[in-house]
Subunit: 236 residues, 2 copies
């Protein structure tokens, strides 16, 4: 990856019902990358609401986006709404082709999958959608952040912060990323060890799974439909 001093265009896709932290976690990091511009692009410039109601506003439309050096694709339950939207998927595909880095967070990886960008690629996503990756032709890798060529995949929601720091380091070197980390005092101390499938208490896992039951079923149906469209042989 070239570490030049050229100005970098960093851009995120936004859509109704995204998970706001998939966007705002990386925004905190990537908006501090030296000599760069971070902007948010939507189908229209109308504000959207995240899955929990936070209002977020695109800076410009997809059509008005410049060629991006970094394409940032968040997820969230609203990801389902763009999985068959060729306006969005075509834009993602075109931007991904020219980008230095394609960076998905959470179920943003499934949007990349719907755009046909996961075939043969090592990838990760939110734990609750991890089993769907093979339907998009991806090789699931159970790590918090997975880097495959120019693709950077962060797993669930908050992992976008870790992923974005990796992206910042790829773009501008370790020291620049470390300055960003110190500025945002990122030395996390989670009060519980409940952040992964492997460490969460059983009752916690059951409750989390139940709360996501409906969207999980929907995502499974979508993944099978997309697999068919992309000609990917669904694993048994």
């Amino acid at each position: 990856m070239a570490m030049t001093d050229t100005h970098l265009q960093i851009g995120a896709l936004i859509f109704d019902g995204l998970d706001q932290m998939d966007l705002t976690g990386p925004f905190e990091v990537l908006s501090r990358v030296p000599n760069s511009t971070y902007r948010i692009f939507g189908k229209t410039t109308t504000a959207v609401r995240d899955g929990r109601g936070l209002v977020l506003k695109p800076d410009a439309t997809l059509a008005d986006a410049p060629p991006l050096d970094v394409l940032h694709v968040p997820g969230g339950t609203g990801q389902e709404g763009v999985m068959d939207d060729e306006d969005v998927l075509g834009w993602v595909r075109r931007q991904a082709q020219g980008a230095r880095i394609v960076f998905s967070v959470c179920t943003g990886a499934l949007i990349l999958g719907a755009a046909g960008l996961l075939k043969g690629r090592r990838a990760t996503t939110h734990w609750n959608s991890f089993h769907l990756l093979p339907l998009y032709g991806a090789i699931p890798v159970n790590q918090r952040v997975v880097i495959d060529d120019k693709f950077v995949f962060a797993s669930g929601v908050s992992s976008g912060i870790d992923g974005a720091l990796r992206v910042a380091a790829l773009l501008r070197g370790d020291e620049a990323a470390q300055v960003i980390q110190l500025s945002m005092q990122y030395a996390p101390e989670p009060p519980f060890a409940s952040g992964t499938l492997a460490t969460a208490p059983e009752a916690v896992l059951a409750a989390a799974r139940q709360s996501m039951g409906e969207i999980t079923e929907k995502r499974e149906q979508t993944a099978r439909r997309v697999a068919q469209r992309l000609g990917i042989k669904a694993p048994a």
Copy 2:
């Protein structure tokens, strides 16, 4: 702290130039607290921009806020803009009085200080403003999250996530907080050990300090002015 099943009103103060993650980190956690409503309140309902340009929109004005169970006060460079604003400070003071939990993130603690709420209280804030706490009458405690009675203080920016999980546990018990943590897959893996003064490389610390030089000076002047107003004897 009562753990009842009554509906909880959680509300954040918003202002121009806040640091968006001070708001959105806790939003991700607290908007998932069972049987609660999280809303954002501004002097007007006009959208503001965070210090890096992210557009955030209040749900309602300060005047239209209900009595809050949880008052969430973010910081950021824009915190300077409300330090002498009696409309805001009076609202913070009144809401804090009735709230079950007063939760500041980053330099949001300085806003609580300007409202006279830090006198004699153990507190923390962003590492770069930590030395100012005594000017507000506070006892600085160098921890990521400091809890003193009903006050919960998170240090810099990203610490709001850890603080909010503590708040969620106080409100609804550990298991509820653990479900939230799992939903957002919060098992952080920072790629560098550069998140604190104690661990950051020297060159990184120097660069971070320099980038914050101007705002630090401004905050020092403000803190001395407020100390005078509040009749707090500034330490030598």
